[in-house]
Symmetry: C2
Subunit: 291 residues, 2 copies
């Protein structure tokens, strides 16, 4: 099931005794290094926005994604399809095909399913099946509002990444996440619990929006070198320099910086894939200036 087979890893990792699979975080560490890139391409592919020539195909979103992936695979640390775009247009099959395509053709590049799931334990078990058995994602975003037992079925998947919402990139993030309890804001408490209570399997990451660089810095201080998924660059207005300077880990990595619309819709015509490649390269280089 898991596509991170050892033969696709750098030699330094292949030599680890008995390694057959690697967990999500190790896979990201490997792509950070191999591709010298912290960029994650968000596959928020929308039938209404992809080039016309895809729209009559049987699996338009998959065909579009395939072209984007083929054009960017040496420039990214991960891909991140947003499941809402597929669910809204009955395109489950496109999502399955996309993740399978990446795993088969570019093994070692992890796929994050952005689904923000969260429910009581028995139901979370079903979401685990959805995300990891059905779609075969390597990591998933989850919502912490229901507490530990709701997260546990996800956390139990040792080889998978569990990326917990901490401080999101939207303006309304402050409504709930900034509430203070004992002089700690809720997002700081979530960050603390993520490190000290929820990470027994070493597979936890956090979502922290690039739109709030001050908060990114505080969270980096709380979590040490825990990797962060950072949305909010591009269409949402996050500043690359501030995000990287405040969010990077000690060795200049530690971030999976997502751009969706800014990359996949960089070009509108026949050259959309080349435009996506250029946008990815440009973002990678911009990020690398500040690492």
């Amino acid at each position: 099931m898991d596509e991170f087979l050892y033969q696709n890893l750098p030699l330094s990792l292949q030599s680890m005794k008995g390694l057959k699979k690697m967990n999500f975080i190790k896979a990201v560490e490997s792509t950070w290094q191999k591709n010298n890139s912290l960029v994650c391409v968000g596959l928020d592919s929308d039938v209404a926005k992809i080039p016309l020539r895809f729209q009559d195909l049987e699996n338009p979103l998959f065909e579009f994604n395939k072209a984007i992936v083929d054009a960017t695979t040496d420039l990214v640390c991960a891909y991140k399809p947003q499941i809402a775009y597929y669910s809204a247009s009955s395109a489950e099959q496109d999502l399955i095909l996309t993740i399978d395509y990446i795993h088969r053709n570019y093994p070692g590049i992890p796929v994050i399913l952005d689904a923000k799931r969260g429910d009581i334990g028995a139901t979370s078990e079903k979401y685990v099946q959805e995300v990891f058995d059905r779609y075969k994602a390597d990591a998933v975003t989850v919502n912490p509002y229901l507490g530990f037992d709701a997260l546990q079925p996800f956390l139990n998947q040792k080889d998978k990444g569990v990326i917990i919402l901490c401080r999101t990139s939207n303006p309304g993030a402050r409504d709930i996440q900034d509430l203070e309890s004992n002089r700690q804001k809720l997002y700081q408490i979530v960050a603390f619990k993520a490190v000290h209570e929820w990470n027994d399997n070493g597979n936890v990451l956090l979502v922290v929006g690039a739109t709030f660089p001050g908060e990114l810095k505080e969270i980096r201080t709380i979590v040490g070198d825990m990797p962060l998924l950072v949305p909010g660059i591009g269409a949402q207005g996050g500043d690359v320099e501030k995000a990287v300077v405040n969010g990077k880990s000690r060795n200049g990595t530690g971030m999976i910086i997502n751009s969706s619309r800014g990359i996949i819709y960089a070009g509108q015509g026949d050259d959309f894939a080349r435009a996506a490649r250029e946008a990815t390269m440009s973002l990678r280089d911009q990020i690398n200036q500040f690492r």
Copy 2:
């Protein structure tokens, strides 16, 4: 699209001038009265648990749900499929068929899609499409962690119910929801915002678990007569008397009390539908003692 056509409503409502559709809360008020029931049957239907004879059918979950619905329709105020069960087993079509079946055959009985969605605005728009355009649910459960702008695309659907997680029924609910800020617990703050900041369209409800009757009472005080979706009866151990006494509104309604496993798996053999009917009737009567 909306199945709550006026001809299926009680005469008192039919006489309202110009009423063609009604919003979700009005529909629930109508079924509370018509069926004298606060019971919601949770269609958490699992291919591994339904009677063997369904398992070879093309749409096993739909056929099972159909039998449960046919056996309980005069005893409930709503149905609530949990989407994770359908997503986990690639059964989107079963979910579509189930909701359509209820709307066509029992118009006026609202369907809540339990999906606990929540994402930034642009993505929430896609979830709105998923839940209301694709599945044609009448209400959806949503997660408040991302704040107002994440809820707004749902709240904008005036005829639909937006059921915001407040105090959930699981043990870990306390991890985040009980954190105190200015002497108010987070779930109290969510309840306050739900009433005073998020309810411009009069379509907001809250999820409050039956497993915490003290919290149910506090929340009832904060929200006045706002309807509450109350899970946690049955398999999760919530006490019916305490839940009803603490959670009811001034006129002895105000609650959509969900039971899933306790009803749909009440019987295991050929009599499962009769057993489900008896379990529903029994729960309805038990609840009605304390209203």
